[in-house]
Assembly symmetry: C2
Homo-oligomer: 430 residues x 2
């Protein structure tokens, strides 16, 4: 058996604790899988005296990053601090010191991937990042290896466990948004400040990483149009159910003729299709390749041990040399395919529209007339009895229409006197 692989861990929070636990309790198993021992040499933290859930031997803890990454017995630096300031400097310093890097930092890759990957190539080092997206689901390996023979044409993911938990609770338990979010926080599925989860930013960061890997396209997360789940109402969830659908926050990438559209938004997903059944805090990624056809990959999208499973898989790949070979051959984050981003206005799908209208004659005729003016034809209509305030919800499922055209029609409809509040719309089965 070869020399042990020396590891410096940066950060010892939730995921870091899981990694320490695997490396310490599973050493024989991991050595067999890696062909050599995996040895934790340093755990770099901000405050050594802090109480931690993970069981790190005192002697390994240090606040001295420079010492850890310059140690000649360290081969791989594992960055689990997160963020794009200290973590970025630490990763660049580790690469410059001749260390390979494992990271689960989606923000760093999505925002500064070009710079970080160029530094790795410059120093002849490798970066592995299976833990950065979809927790324990080995989706990066699937895209870079298992499906490497394919041209990927579609990628759809449920990538944010908080949003999926909240929407699932609103669907299954008839909770409202705030109750469901509070329950997610109580169970540890949502942060104290869940803004970046519920507004779609976290899913957009993850989609940015997946799109780089799947499509070799040059872009930044801010270019991804996003709508969060904050405005999804129990009424929309109920009406979606009546249309045979559940509402999911979907991160979507579609390729047509070398043009890629990217979107994060709530979508009405038809019951009985695989993404509709992804429950609670689970994640799933659907990938369509031109050779393999339709595939789906499902698992825990977050949490200490599932994400540690992905991080330690990367460490094993480094020990075996697979990660380095992949990194050198694939030249990720160097766009070569000539794929361009395209506006979502041209993306064709069916849409769900909910209009809150005055309960008086002619309202449906007016709304359908305005849709007809944009050549939008109606597949299904649901109208329930008026509520106490004299308004009624009118749910319309359209046939296929480009998003831009749908939005133009809604702009007209929103000017109607019959509307009590702006029209709500979501794509169906995007």
């Amino acid at each position: 058996m070869s020399e042990p692989l020396g590891i410096a861990l940066l950060g010892c929070g939730t995921v870091g604790g899981g990694v320490v636990q695997l490396l310490r309790n599973r050493s024989d198993h991991l050595a067999r899988r890696a062909g050599r021992a995996l040895e934790l040499r340093h755990v770099v933290v901000r405050d050594i005296s802090k109480q931690r859930s993970c069981d790190v031997p005192r002697g390994l803890l240090t606040t001295d990053l420079a010492k850890a990454i310059s140690d000649s017995r360290v081969n791989v630096v594992v960055e689990l601090v997160g963020g794009t300031t200290w973590a970025k400097d630490a990763v660049l310093a580790a690469l410059a010191a001749g260390k390979d890097v494992v990271t689960a930092n989606k923000a760093l890759l999505a925002e500064f991937g070009t710079e970080v990957f160029a530094a790795a190539h410059h120093h002849g080092r490798a970066i592995a990042f299976e833990g950065s997206v979809a927790g324990g689901i080995p989706i990066i390996g699937v895209l870079t290896q298992g499906l490497a023979a394919n041209r990927i044409t579609r990628l759809q993911g449920i990538l944010n466990g908080t949003c999926n938990f909240v929407l699932s609770a609103m669907t299954d338990d008839k909770s409202d948004y705030n109750t469901a979010l509070a329950e997610a926080q109580r169970l540890g599925y949502a942060e104290a400040d869940p803004t970046l989860d519920v507004d779609g930013s976290d899913a957009a960061h993850k989609l940015a990483v997946l799109a780089r890997v799947a499509f070799d396209v040059a872009m930044l997360p801010k270019q991804i149009e996003r709508r969060g789940i904050v405005d999804v109402s129990p009424l929309d969830i109920r009406l979606a159910g009546e249309l045979g659908c559940v509402i999911k926050l979907i991160a979507d990438a579609q390729l047509h003729d070398n043009e890629l559209t990217l979107l994060v938004a709530p979508v009405l997903v038809r019951r009985g299709t695989p993404l509709a059944d992804v429950a609670g805090a689970y994640n799933a990624v659907r990938v369509v390749g031109d050779a393999v056809g339709d595939t789906l990959f499902y698992g825990a999208g977050a949490g200490a041990m599932p994400t540690a499973s992905a991080v330690v898989a990367d460490i094993i790949d480094m020990a075996i040399g697979r990660a380095q070979a992949t990194f050198k051959a694939m030249r990720l984050w160097e766009p070569t395919t000539g794929i361009r981003l395209r506006s979502n206005d041209d993306v064709v799908s069916r849409f769900y529209i909910r209009l809150t209208v005055a309960d008086k004659p002619g309202v449906l005729a007016e709304a359908s007339g305005l849709l007809a003016m944009e050549q939008i034809s109606i597949a299904e209509v649901i109208q329930h009895e008026a509520t106490n305030d004299g308004s009624t919800a009118l749910a319309i499922a359209t046939h296929l229409v480009p998003a831009g055209k749908l939005r133009a029609a809604l702009d007209r409809i929103n000017q109607s006197d019959s509307l009590r509040e702006p029209a709500v719309y979501y794509a169906m089965g995007l």
Copy 2:
């Protein structure tokens, strides 16, 4: 960019045709993914003059295996002939000639894996076999890499597309077995002689390969208990539906305390769980790992292009050097974990029992009495009105019970005069 990777293809049938098509039509994309060109140098076939669906340049076709594998410009030999006679000799000859081998031959690996892998190690060569199980689903990569940090505790697969198509048709279209099988044959999902599919042998071969990889356990396919789908009746499918379940042919591996149970059998899978929704000829593999938890991998389990997707992924891994590094580090097919096989008699699950009984008083009391004698308690009973011949079907869902105990109780029940035919039983939600 490095030297091209030279390839000799053995066999040019359905999957071989798909591989040729990818290598020829997708050369730029593959070269980018592999870091070097992939060049097809020989296609070894039995009869050059035979008409083929695939578009192979005449000059590449040869009947001369020795010439192809001794060509110094060939690095990788891709075996797609199948079977365990000619294919085994060819693979051993290729390894002896210093070539790495890619194969999709599950029978060869399941029956002669120990010999073939030992030869590869002896000659310092590697074998990759992503295409051998579950078609386009990259499950071998998932087990050897993506989930490598885990101790796998459970593996459940829908691994035979023919059986899943037939059972899905019997469920959705209310077809009987023969009609559904004829439809599968018409659509190309079933062979002219489907015996090895419908009797569970094909799934057992695939389970044998997966179990070797996931559990490092020494065994042969003949050690896997199997029940096919031939006896599954429309009545069982209907009664399963009334119990909230669908019947699927499941290949199952469960690890408890270093003891592994392996089984291929029809199982009542609860609706709303991921395996229940695997439709038509699709495959899926559920993997439970101690760190990652529950995962599922879904895709096309057979067919020219999905399987070619897996085979070409292996070729790319060979070009990059990942497959060789994996093979050397992991020493597959060399059992080291001390896991032993255990009889299925001890596996605890709920069971579905169908009794065809005379429609007379006391029959339910007699059956439930015999179950009670083995301490088997009943969770649910369905009894429908008697048919014209005076017999009636009694469906019983039990609480948890070891399979051996259940079978002992059924042996007693089968001796009852009230029974018109032997009791039928399947595990529920195994």
